[in-house]
C-alpha cells in the first residue's frame, strides 16, 4: 500500500462558466497518518479544496487519487464517502430530531445492516469522544462543544481512512475550540487517524504537523 492516502494532481475548480477560479491547479499529497491544516482567508479556496478531496464535488480539471484510485472512476461517490471519509462541519449539522446516539448511527445505515450493531458501535464512539453520559440527549439539550463532539463521533462512524474538518471550531468559544482540537489531536496520535482541517486560526493550526497556506485558489506555502 502506498504511503500517500490522497493525491491532488493539478486540480482546478471553476464556477460560473470558468470566470471564478475557486481552486487553480493545486497539487498536493496527504500521507497516511498525517494531520494537515489548510489555512487561508475566506475565499482563498480552502473549503473548495477540502470538498474536492472528500469527493463532495468533482474537479473541473485535474484528478484526485484516493488510495491510488482516481475518484472519477467511482460511479457513486456516496459509496466512497460513506466508507472512506468522515466529515466534521463548522455548524455541527446534527439532525435536531435525533438524540446523540441516533445521530452517530446515521452514516452506518449504508454499511451495517443490524440495528443492534449500529447502536453498539455508536455507543462506543460516543464514549471515545467523552460523551457517554449524554447519549440520549437531543442536540438542543447539549452545549455547542458537546454537539461538536457528537459530530466528531458521527464522522468516525464507519472507521474512515480520512477525517475532513471544515472550520470545526468556527462556532465555538476558545475553550471549547481547544477541547475539540485536543480531541482531534488525540485521534491522530492514538488511532493514527489521517486528518485534514481547514482553519483560519494559526493557534489551532499549530496542532497540525503540517500547514498549507492558500491564497486565490493556489497553495502559496
Amino acid at each position: 500500500m502506498s504511503d500517500v492516502l490522497v493525491r491532488a494532481d493539478r486540480v482546478s475548480k471553476t464556477y460560473e462558466d470558468g470566470r471564478i477560479h475557486a481552486v487553480a491547479e493545486v497539487s498536493l499529497d496527504i500521507r497516511r497518518g498525517e494531520f494537515v491544516a489548510i489555512m487561508g482567508r475566506s475565499g482563498s479556496g480552502k473549503s473548495t479544496l477540502l470538498n474536492l478531496l472528500g469527493g463532495l464535488d468533482r474537479p473541473s480539471a485535474g484528478a484526485i487519487f484516493f488510495e491510488d484510485q482516481n475518484l472519477q472512476t467511482y460511479g457513486d461517490l456516496a459509496w466512497f464517502r460513506a466508507r472512506k471519509l468522515g466529515f466534521v462541519f463548522q455548524s455541527f449539522h446534527l439532525l435536531p430530531v435525533l438524540t446523540a446516539l441516533e445521530n452517530v448511527q446515521i452514516p452506518m445505515f449504508e454499511t451495517i445492516r443490524s440495528a443492534a450493531r449500529r447502536r453498539e458501535r455508536a455507543s462506543r464512539l460516543l464514549a471515545l469522544v467523552g460523551m457517554d453520559g449524554r447519549q440520549n440527549h437531543l442536540p438542543k439539550q447539549l452545549s455547542v462543544g458537546e454537539r461538536q463532539r457528537v459530530a466528531v463521533a458521527r464522522a468516525l462512524a464507519n472507521e474512515p481512512a480520512l477525517l475532513l474538518a471544515d472550520e470545526p471550531t468556527g462556532n465555538l468559544d476558545s475553550e471549547n475550540a481547544l477541547e475539540i482540537l485536543r480531541l482531534l489531536a488525540r485521534l491522530h496520535r492514538e488511532q493514527g487517524m489521517t486528518i485534514v482541517m481547514v482553519t483560519h486560526d494559526p493557534e489551532l493550526a499549530s496542532f497540525a504537523q503540517r500547514t498549507i497556506q492558500m491564497k486565490d485558489g493556489r497553495i502559496v506555502a
Binding site: G54, R81, V97, L98, E102, F109, T111
Partner: protein, 375 residues
C-alpha cells in the same frame, strides 16, 4: 435505530404542517369512502329488493334503463306467465313523486298487485297490509314514515291534491324500500292516469341456473317487439340511477383527490425546502440518494396513511349521520363495505407516493456542496 424512527421523528417535527397534510388527505379519503360507499350501498339495497323476492329477470321497455320511463302493456303479463320456465310473473308500476309534507323529493311510489307476492311478504310493523277493496290508502316504509312524521291513520299527499290514508308501515331489509311507499297497482294506475300500464314485470324462473334463465329470457324477448329482458344483477348495474350515483361519487372524489394531492405536494415541498441543508449533510456523510428518496417517500406515505385512518373515521361518521337524517336516511344505509375502505387506503397510499415523489426528487437534485451553503 431504524429508518422508520427517523421518519416518524421528522413527521412530528412540524406538527401543524403535518396536521395540515393529514387533514388534506383525510378529506379526500372521506369523500371517496363516503360517496362511493353510499353509491355502493344504494346499489346493494336496490339489489336486495329483488333478491329477497327471488326475482331472476326484469322485463322493461327496450332502451328505458331508467325504470320510471318504461311503459308496458299490463296484458303482456299473461303471455309471460304462459312462457315455459316461468314460475311467477308480477307487474309493477313505479313512479317518483315529491311530497310537500316533509319537504322531500324523489320519493319512489310502487304500485303492486294484491296477493301473496311481494306485497304479501312485506313485514308490517304497524297497522295492516293492503287488502282487496282498499282505495286511496297507502303503506309507508319505516324510514319514509319517520321522515314525513306520519303514523297509521294520518293522511299523506301522494300527489298534490290527492291525500291518501296511511293504513300500515312496513320494514324491509333495505333502505331503498324503507324509503318508499306502496299503493295497490290499481290505485296507482288510476292516480297517475296510467290504466292498463306498468313499468316492468319481475319474473321468477325454474330452474334457476344461468343457462335456463337465459333461455327463458330469450323466449320472453320473442313475445313482443322492443322488450328488454335482463338478469336482475345486470339490470341494476346498468340502470341510470346507479350509474349516475357512481359517476357523481367518483367525480366529487376525483376533485377531492386532486386538491389533496396539491396540498400534499405543497406541504412536502415546503418541508423539503426547509431541510435542504439537512439532505446535503446526509449526502456528505455517505447516504445514497436512494435512501434520502426512500425516507421522504416514507414520510409522505406515513402522513397519507394517517389521513386515510382519519378520513375513514370521518366517512363513517358522515354516513351514519346521513342515515339518521330524514332527508337522506331513505337513501343512505350507513354501512360502508370493507372493500370501499380498502379503496380509500389504496388511494391514500398512491397520494402519498405521488405527493412525495416531486419533493424527494427536488431534495436530491441539489448538489451537496450547494445544499451545505443553504441557510
Amino acid at each position: 435505530m431504524h429508518l422508520t424512527t427517523v421518519v416518524v421523528r421528522n413527521v412530528f417535527r412540524r406538527p401543524a404542517r403535518s396536521a395540515l397534510t393529514v387533514a388534506g388527505v383525510s378529506v379526500a379519503v372521506a369523500a371517496v369512502v363516503a360517496l362511493v360507499g353510499i353509491a355502493r350501498g344504494f346499489e346493494r339495497s336496490l339489489r336486495a329488493v329483488y333478491e329477497s323476492r327471488g326475482v331472476d329477470l326484469m322485463v322493461v321497455r327496450a332502451g328505458s334503463t331508467q325504470r320510471f320511463s318504461s311503459v308496458l302493456d299490463e296484458s303482456l303479463g299473461e303471455k309471460i306467465a304462459a312462457t315455459p320456465g316461468v314460475a311467477e310473473v308480477l307487474p309493477g308500476l313505479a313512479e317518483v313523486v315529491a311530497s310537500e309534507d316533509g319537504d322531500m323529493t324523489g320519493i319512489v311510489v310502487q304500485g303492486l298487485p294484491l296477493g301473496p307476492g311481494p306485497l304479501g311478504r312485506l313485514q308490517i310493523v304497524s297497522g295492516r297490509n293492503l287488502q282487496p277493496g282498499d282505495e286511496r290508502v297507502v303503506l309507508l316504509g319505516r324510514i319514509l314514515a319517520q321522515g314525513l312524521g306520519k303514523q297509521v291513520g294520518d293522511m299523506v299527499e301522494v300527489v298534490k291534491g290527492h291525500a291518501y290514508r296511511v293504513v300500515g308501515i312496513y320494514d324491509a331489509s333495505n333502505v331503498f324500500e324503507n324509503g318508499s311507499m306502496i299503493l295497490t297497482l290499481k290505485d296507482l294506475q288510476r292516480l297517475m292516469g296510467r290504466q292498463g300500464e306498468v313499468t316492468h314485470f319481475t319474473v321468477i324462473t325454474v330452474p334457476k341456473d344461468r343457462q335456463s334463465v337465459e333461455q327463458v329470457a330469450e323466449r320472453i324477448r320473442a313475445l313482443a317487439p322492443n322488450l328488454d329482458v335482463l338478469p336482475m344483477r345486470e339490470y341494476i348495474e346498468t340502470s341510470v340511477e346507479i350509474r349516475t350515483a357512481r359517476a357523481a361519487a367518483w367525480l366529487t372524489s376525483t376533485i377531492a383527490l386532486i386538491i389533496a394531492a396539491i396540498v400534499m405536494v405543497i406541504t412536502m415541498l415546503t418541508a423539503v425546502f426547509e431541510r435542504t441543508r439537512e439532505f446535503a449533510i446526509l449526502q456528505a456523510i455517505g447516504w445514497r440518494q436512494r435512501r434520502i428518496i426512500q425516507m421522504i417517500l416514507m414520510e409522505a406515505v406515513l402522513l397519507a396513511a394517517a389521513g386515510a385512518v382519519v378520513g375513514t373515521l370521518l366517512a363513517i361518521l358522515l354516513t351514519q349521520g346521513l342515515a339518521r337524517l330524514p332527508q337522506t336516511g331513505r337513501l343512505v344505509s350507513g354501512e360502508i363495505a370493507l372493500d370501499v375502505v380498502l379503496q380509500g387506503f389504496v388511494l391514500a397510499l398512491m397520494l402519498g407516493i405521488a405527493g412525495g415523489l416531486l419533493p424527494a426528487w427536488r431534495a436530491v437534485r441539489i448538489a451537496p456542496t450547494e445544499g451545505l451553503r443553504h441557510e
